[in-house]
């Protein structure tokens, strides 16, 4: 089987950079709320990393709007294509929503929004206890939803790559597979 067409190099770099940052962020977030000893160290990474994700999400969205996507491989059914597109939209939404909810939550909680050194962000919402409480809960729910969506995304790619063996992963790979057909 020939290798399927790939996403552009920039799209692939952005994808893997975002994947690493999101996964790190999810693990930092879930660890810090359960930790007494490492809470401060983790939260000091969590805030600026969240803003970096927000910036990268904006770059990705612009890139996504101005590039042509490689076609879905023929091994993907209509239903799979629908779920792939829907989960992509959900992932993009969460990439924006989680940092914004986090930023808004700190604003509503009257927290200083420290990035690093003296650099800090302005509040984007007025200080309000109930608003803080609602956004704090929303932040957790969205984070678990993001983790579940990531697992779904990963499982479908693994299923196609390892079971159907249609080289779906190659579309997004940074490395290049030699086509097995090409060898013979």
């Amino acid at each position: 089987m020939a290798n399927p067409a790939q996403f552009t190099l920039l799209s692939r770099i952005l994808h893997w950079l975002m994947a690493a940052m999101l996964l790190a962020m999810l693990f930092i977030g879930v660890s810090m709320v359960a930790s007494l000893g490492n809470y401060h160290r983790l939260v000091a990474i969590h805030r600026p990393l969240g803003i970096m994700i927000l910036i990268l999400a904006a770059i990705r969205l612009v890139n996504r709007m101005f590039t042509t996507l490689p076609p879905f491989p023929p091994t993907m059914s209509q239903r799979e294509r629908f779920f792939a597109s829907a989960s992509e939209r959900l992932l993009y939404t969460l990439m924006f929503a989680l940092p914004l909810v986090g930023w808004g939550m700190l604003s509503a909680g009257h927290y200083p929004i420290v990035m690093f050194g003296p650099v800090h962000l302005p509040p984007i919402l007025p200080a309000d206890p109930m608003l803080y409480a609602a956004l704090r809960k929303t932040h957790t729910v969205l984070a678990y939803l993001l983790f579940a969506t990531f697992l779904f995304h990963l499982s479908t790619v693994l299923f196609h790559t390892l079971i159907i063996r249609d080289r779906l992963l190659h579309r997004m790979a940074l490395w290049s597979f030699r086509s097995r057909k090409g060898k013979t």
Binding site: L26, F27, V30, S31, M32, V33, A34, S35, L36, G37, N38, Y39, H40, R41, V43, G109, H110, Y111, P112, V114, G117, P118, H120, P122, A127, P129, M130, Y132, A133, A134, R136, K137, F147, L151, L154, S155, L158, F159, L162, I163
Partner: protein, 350 residues
């Protein structure tokens, strides 16, 4: 690789990632000491009082300004130490989780301050009127809470449990001796409030020094008069503070104690030698007092690690633990309906 192997591989990868995620979140170790367990324990010992801080529950809010004399600039590049004034808001409180408890002279008194720096930075600090902290770790604090919880039968702490705690934690026994040897001052106004934990100051040249700080009262010390105490007045300490501020602004000197390399920064039970350099960096003036019912300070988390550039955390494990536990307490109380404070607007308006 056979099909079954490949299916198994997918299952292992997915279950592995999900398992690691849940493990990181503490799902498999529900009895490990976490911020949630710490706050649950405070709720059990002090009773659950929705809307209130889980510790230092009874308090009153204040505002005023800090006037820096510029002497702190040599120690820290934080803009709060540049000569001039910055506005502050804060809160005086009594330790414990009961927002309606009667004021008792021996109860630990606290002062929390938020310095609003001109560039939008903030410095928040929570200080107590004890010379050292009774424990040096989160685990110690948790055990102390359990040992001092009132017994169901007597309504008082069980001395057997407390003795067992002190045997297990000799550092706490020493610290408590020091704490109890201090004379009790007449009220909030003539108490000194100490950072207890060590921090690092970083100056413009990048030099780092360990520090502790204190708010030292300009009001002269008067011993608490047990005989004259108005036992019928459940808010006697707060009422005296309110009357004092209404009389004239109260003042404290912010005194920085500069540690030397041998001084422990990771153990809040150990005092530093009295010979350490002390720098008076400015004066805190408290002009107004307001009930929690109307003050924005009610909804502020006085997390001791909300620090401006130029002040940083030390290796004291209590700091991160305080930060985590305060966040947990803050999130819980902010979502709850608010009950009126014992120190009401009628009281602060007197």
């Amino acid at each position: 690789m056979g099909l079954i192997m490949r299916v198994t591989l997918i299952g292992v990868v997915l279950a592995g990632i999900a398992g690691l995620f849940l493990y990181a979140g503490g799902w498999f170790t529900p009895h490990a000491l976490s911020p949630a367990l710490m706050i649950n324990t405070l709720e059990q010992t002090g009773g659950l009082h929705p809307g209130f801080r889980r510790n230092h529950a009874k308090g009153v809010c204040i505002s005023g300004y800090f006037e820096s004399n510029g002497r702190g600039v040599a120690l820290s590049k934080a803009t709060v130490f540049l000569p001039g004034r910055v506005p502050v808001i804060g809160r005086f409180a009594l330790a414990g989780g009961q927002p309606y408890a009667a004021d008792a002279p021996q109860t630990v008194r606290s002062l929390a301050i938020l310095f609003k720096l001109p560039d939008g930075e903030e410095w928040r600090t929570g200080m107590n009127n004890i010379p050292v902290f009774p424990v040096n770790s989160a685990q110690g604090f948790y055990e102390l809470l359990q040992a001092s919880a009132p017994d169901h039968a007597t309504g008082k702490p069980d001395p057997v449990k407390m003795n067992a705690f002190l045997t297990r934690h000799p550092e706490s026994a020493k610290a408590m001796q020091l704490i109890h040897s201090q004379p009790v001052s007449s009220g909030f106004a003539d108490s000194a409030y100490n950072s207890l934990n060590a921090f690092h100051f970083i100056n413009a040249q990048g030099a780092v020094v360990p520090v502790r700080w204190s708010m030292v009262p300009a009001q002269p010390f008067e011993p608490f008069d047990m005989a004259a105490a108005r036992r019928s007045d459940t808010n006697q300490l707060f009422d005296a503070l309110i009357a004092g501020i209404h009389g004239r602004p109260l003042q404290w000197h912010l005194v920085i104690t500069v540690g030397e390399p041998a001084d422990p920064t990771d153990d809040a039970t150990i005092p530093w030698p009295a010979s350490r350099q002390q720098v008076d960096v400015g004066t805190l003036t408290i002009e107004r007092v307001e009930s929690e019912d109307t003050s924005p300070a009610r909804d502020i988390n006085f997390d001791p690690l909300m620090l401006p550039d130029g002040i940083a955390s030390s290796d004291d494990p209590l700091l991160s633990a305080r930060s985590a536990a305060y966040a947990q307490s803050f999130t819980r109380r902010e979502s709850e309906p608010k009950a009126p404070s014992a120190v009401s607007t009628a009281e602060t308006g007197k």
